[in-house]
């Protein structure tokens, strides 16, 4: 675990009075594509209408109510229960409201989301927050690979929004991100910020190898250890970036514990990747 810890984001009293609770009827090994589980779809629908929303169980089109027990109606606050590791695309394209996943969740969580908030109390699968354009995803456990990344073949990924992972994240965090903020309190795998166009990735644990490969602009901050940096990043100076103070203090406002040593501390600045535009930066905390 890294240098920033989290005091807890969600409090029970913050939950809205009116909620829709979905409980997966039984665990499955067959993937479920459930992009219909979205606050925008639930806000004005009765329970019957919610149960009738389509989902794909493998290749079979089914009704949501056949796979999930539904409680509540007409609310943009959703609570999900059960073993959801095979449930994909939850909160895809959402623009409002809140989804709380009480456990683990599958791939593509909150992809393309534009607003609202998703809180995962367990782990999330690959591609969480892919192409996100606003809102906030908060994962209390670990995230898979390609957190906040662009889908293959796309030129640009995340464009605004915030992703926070309290645990570790896999490879290619924030690949091709254009704007926004990704905070990982644990370690990240290789190629964080690969081909990044802009935005900010802050890693409180260990920063994996080849960070920022091919990045044009943007910022990758490492508060702790890091694997060997690419030779295509050049050291520039050791300084106290004022903008980073602003960022770290916002993290404190969101409930994270950030030590004064990081807020007031010095950082080594490297620019790169010089095989691309070279205007990206790695800021490495320097505790000397």
């Amino acid at each position: 675990m890294g240098c920033i810890s989290c005091a807890g984001l969600m409090k029970e009293d913050e939950l809205a009075e009116s909620v829709v609770t979905l409980r997966l009827r039984e665990p499955t090994t067959i993937p479920i594509e459930a992009d219909s589980i979205c606050p925008d779809n639930f806000a004005n629908r009765s329970r019957g209408e919610i149960e009738a929303l389509p989902v794909f169980y493998g290749r079979r089109k089914m009704k949501l109510g056949e796979l999930f027990e539904v409680e509540g109606e007409k609310s943009d606050t959703i609570i999900l229960q059960g073993d959801l590791r095979q449930v994909k695309k939850i909160g895809q394209r959402m623009t409002r409201g809140r989804i709380t996943v009480q456990g683990d969740v599958g791939m593509h969580l909150g992809a393309y989301m534009r607003g609202g908030e998703i809180v995962v109390e367990g782990n999330a699968g690959d591609w969480a927050g892919a192409h996100m354009q606003g809102g906030r995803i908060w994962i209390r456990g670990n995230a898979g690979h390609l957190l906040g990344a662009a889908y293959r073949g796309e030129k640009r990924g995340v464009n605004r929004g915030v992703i926070v992972v309290e645990g570790n994240a896999g490879r290619e965090v924030g690949a091709q991100m254009r704007r926004g903020l990704i905070v990982v309190l644990g370690d990240v795998g290789e190629f964080a910020g690969a081909k990044m166009i802009a935005g900010t990735i802050l890693v409180s644990g260990r920063l994996g190898a080849r960070a920022g490969a091919g990045m044009k602009r943007g910022t990758i901050v490492a508060l702790a250890d890091h694997d060997e940096l690419l030779p295509t990043f050049r050291y520039e100076c050791r300084y106290q970036p004022v903008f980073l103070r602003y960022y770290l203090l916002r993290l404190r406002e969101w409930g994270m514990t950030v030590g004064d040593e990081y807020v007031n501390g010095f950082y080594r600045r490297y620019h790169g990747d010089i095989t691309a535009l070279g205007k990206g930066e790695l800021l490495i905390y320097d505790q000397r």
Binding site: R160, R179, G180, L181, A198, T200, R217, T219, C237, Y239, Q240, P241, V242, F243, R245, Y246, Y247, L249, R250, V263, K279, E281
Partner: protein, 294 residues
């Protein structure tokens, strides 16, 4: 009406609509935040010749500023948005960016915004970096010392300029002491600045002149040295007059500043408290002294 034996004249201060911006300047320590604030609000006593009226609203402790460093809040007033943009560009660019360790944040939430950091960024010669967080965009401009952080846009809002009162005293010393006490009390009120030197004006003006090339001239009715040569407004025993001008974000702030200022100024050696107006023909706001002091 008398307060501590000082007459409160039955008259009013006339004030007019302006636009205001609030800048939060932070720095490595209070000394440099204050230095930047003092320079940025320099030569900003009157819009007539300075283009803006500005002053320090107050200091802000490190745990209340956006970047957790000591800060100073300044207010800038102009007659319109265009003049404000010009003034902020000059003052932020020449006075704040140049000052060691500073950063500059918007301190006024408003729908109406002016792009300031977004224009100053070009000083970075292509090496400037944009950062967007929580809906606020900042520019990091590389400078020789390290980096200047400035917010892209600054909110402006309709405000009020020209609130005032006059302190008519028996002597220069007594009048100055009263004015100093008044300004000290008024600085506790948020949302106002007193843009003149030390918050005090000794050379109040009227809006006419015998010279065609001049828009304003000395306020002859309140000049003790020529009281027998002009239509004087000075009662017997008055030998010195000082004015305090107040610009504020809203009517309430100006009223409150005038109230505490007038009350603080009512002390031995002061004969009368009056106010400057143009018969109600110029400004949209009138602050009646007796009503203000309650």
């Amino acid at each position: 009406m008398y307060i501590n034996g000082v007459e409160i004249e039955d008259t009013f201060a006339e004030a007019f609509k302006m636009r205001a911006a609030r800048l939060i300047i932070t720095a490595a320590n209070e000394k440099w935040a204050l230095t930047a604030a003092q320079v940025a609000t320099g030569f900003a006593t009157s819009v007539i010749a300075c283009g803006a009226e500005a002053g320090i609203e107050g200091t802000i402790s490190a745990n209340e500023t956006p970047d957790g460093r000591p800060g100073v809040s300044i207010l800038v007033f102009t007659m319109g948005p265009k003049a404000m943009e010009d003034q902020l560009m000059r003052r932020v660019g020449q006075c704040i960016m140049t000052c060691p360790t500073t950063a500059c944040f918007n301190g006024l939430e408003s729908e109406e915004k002016l792009k300031i950091g977004g224009s100053l960024r070009y000083f970075g010669d292509g090496f400037q970096i944009s950062k967007l967080i929580g809906g606020r965009r900042f520019w990091r401009i590389p400078v020789m010392e390290s980096e200047f952080l400035v917010e892209e846009s600054f909110g402006i809002k309709k405000a009020i300029g020209g609130g005032n009162f006059l302190i008519l005293g028996e002597s220069q010393q007594a009048t100055l002491e009263a004015a100093e006490r008044a300004v000290e009390a008024m600085r506790e009120v948020r949302g106002v600045v007193m843009p003149f030197p030390g918050g005090i004006v000794r050379s109040g003006s009227k809006t006419t002149s015998r010279y065609k090339f001049l828009r304003a001239s000395t306020n002859t009715a309140y000049c003790p040295t020529i009281r027998r040569q002009t239509e004087s407004a000075l009662p017997e025993g008055v030998n010195s007059v000082l004015e305090i001008v107040i610009d504020g974000l809203n009517e309430w702030a100006i009223r409150e500043a005038m109230r505490v200022g007038i009350r603080a100024a009512c002390r031995p050696g002061v004969v009368r408290i009056s106010a400057g107006n143009y018969g109600g023909t110029l400004g949209q706001y009138q602050f009646h002294l007796r009503e203000v002091v309650g």
